[in-house]
Symmetry: C2
Subunit: 386 residues, 2 copies
Amino acid sequence: MAPAFEQIPEDTETQTETPHSAPNTVNNDGQVDYKSRVTVVGSGNWGSVAAKLIASNTLKLYSFHDEVRMWVFEETLQSGEKLTDVINRINENVKYLPGIKLGKNVIADPDLENAVKDANMLVFVTPHQFMEGICKRLVGKVREDAEAISLIKGMEVKMEGPCMISTLISEHLGINCSVLMGANIANEIAVEKFSEATVGYRDKREIAEQWVRLFSTPYFLVTPVQDVEGVELCGTLKNVVAIAAGFVDGLDMGNNTKAAIMRIGLREMIAFSKLLFPSVRDSTFFESCGVADVITTCLGGRNRKVAEAFAKNGGKRSFDELEAEMLQGQKLQGVSTAREVYEVLSHRGWLELFPLFSTVHEICVGRLPPSAIVEHSEQKPKLPVF
Amino acid sequence: MAPAFEQIPEDTETQTETPHSAPNTVNNDGQVDYKSRVTVVGSGNWGSVAAKLIASNTLKLYSFHDEVRMWVFEETLQSGEKLTDVINRINENVKYLPGIKLGKNVIADPDLENAVKDANMLVFVTPHQFMEGICKRLVGKVREDAEAISLIKGMEVKMEGPCMISTLISEHLGINCSVLMGANIANEIAVEKFSEATVGYRDKREIAEQWVRLFSTPYFLVTPVQDVEGVELCGTLKNVVAIAAGFVDGLDMGNNTKAAIMRIGLREMIAFSKLLFPSVRDSTFFESCGVADVITTCLGGRNRKVAEAFAKNGGKRSFDELEAEMLQGQKLQGVSTAREVYEVLSHRGWLELFPLFSTVHEICVGRLPPSAIVEHSEQKPKLPVF
């Protein structure tokens, strides 16, 4: 279904675009180029859906070159063919998004450096543990005037604080990096069900607007927010809340309890984000990346599902075991994020301020039973959220 | 399950209560009475659960008389017995909360005036359409120093603006009225599953704290907020959002879409409340009465359920018909609230500012198909919510 939203012009580029809105106008050869070139770094499930969204827009919008290059980690399929060859032949990522046409203008490229070298708009959408390696390989290889956006949920939370993926990209590559997060389950967007997303940007509004144009479709509504850290932390921390919600489901405690736990989780997300980054805005949590993503992730999603199974088994089967059984090798973001958040909290002496976050981790590692999610996670608020 | 929350003292009245914290100390006979007397006006499903919560606390807390009087609209049961007689004999509301003991100190009273005459704490929890009649009957019959609290979700939204139930009570009876709202499904609280609630109060913090003490149990966590209108509007408007969520479920549109619609609904709740009452606080919407109640109501609840059936039938069977079939005579709050909100919006020229609220009404009355909930309800925000 593709409702006609008045506010999203489908083919009115002359009204909405002006040359200055493009991030830059000179390419590596010194030639003036008013059009932006987009490369998607990553080709998993969400990366493929992102490429599809983008490719439908670059065809329509004047300020983008049609071609969307997609870096694909090369694999040989059971048929003996290479994944990139199949994608380029039938315009479909048969391994990670089967049955969905990406668009003929999506070009799969197994060579990372080649894929990025001409692009001035870089979309990063790989598993977060690969990002540090990718960034190191890309030092000095991307255009100086390139703009990046990270769709990667999850981050490195270290003792001294979280290292945001957008910061990692910015620092390694010396370019500005925005983020796109939101209540978006890739497979639902792939079949064009309505959903929303939030672009978090640092200071340049015109860059944010260019990203919004690149991603928006009638069924995918993107809103820009000047709050990179807030948006990115939403995308990460919500997985911890989803683990808590899964415990409540597994204990069969009902909707009241689940709603209470989700609300407490949202408040801890806000408080944690604001303690780490005082610039984080309250209003960000009412965007798609905030409350809506918490809802989506706590209703569906693999973090919730495996946590439910964990609680049903009374914590007697480990997350590793359940993951292996239920997720065919995928890892749960929520369990590792809960551990990382716990490290930050304990390092800073904040454990008592975040009973839900800390209890999720203690349940995950077996120090507390799943039922502790209710017993421990609610206390009278000690933090002024507003 | 009754987790031990550190912050809710169960039997430490000497630490937490002082005589001045009681709303008043002189009864109708002119005698000093440091203890408050509580009457619950209403005895339906939620009223009975409220009486149970309260009765467990009045037994424990020094500042309340043990007895909790409950006004019961008298009915003759199939057995030929009167409902009040059965409640007083077996401490159970066999009609509206079967299987749950209310406590021996709950006294059912079929005489409204008698039930309220000695009470200085009045808990109103009737269907909202009865409140005007009840208020008229009680003029001059309640103690002048009484404090009221309304648990009634739903209100009269008239052309000139909404008439809040708390206002109705205050104006008719000349007493202060707080509200208690939240993500609480009566039957889940009855079996002592963990949930939360929010007390909205006008100015007297010590009154709010007395209400919090009266309702709080280890499984029912109550937080006071100085924002009567915000809390009360949350309780009402969330039912309109639940209708929208039900449409999405009926159209089988997935979790992304549902989360997006819930988020947009929450934003319209905030915007509507703040336009009507500029004193309404953003933070109220992060309390149990806000985001948590929206979640609970959109996950379960009868508004969602009937709206789902309505959409599944493509709007061809009316809400009246589906209500009659599915709810055994209960009425949907959401459909009538949507109509009342629509009247306010159209009277004030705000229809375009609230696409979700107005679309819900137009779908309910058959002017738009259920699928319009997505096509019409999202527009670029025109209202600054913060």
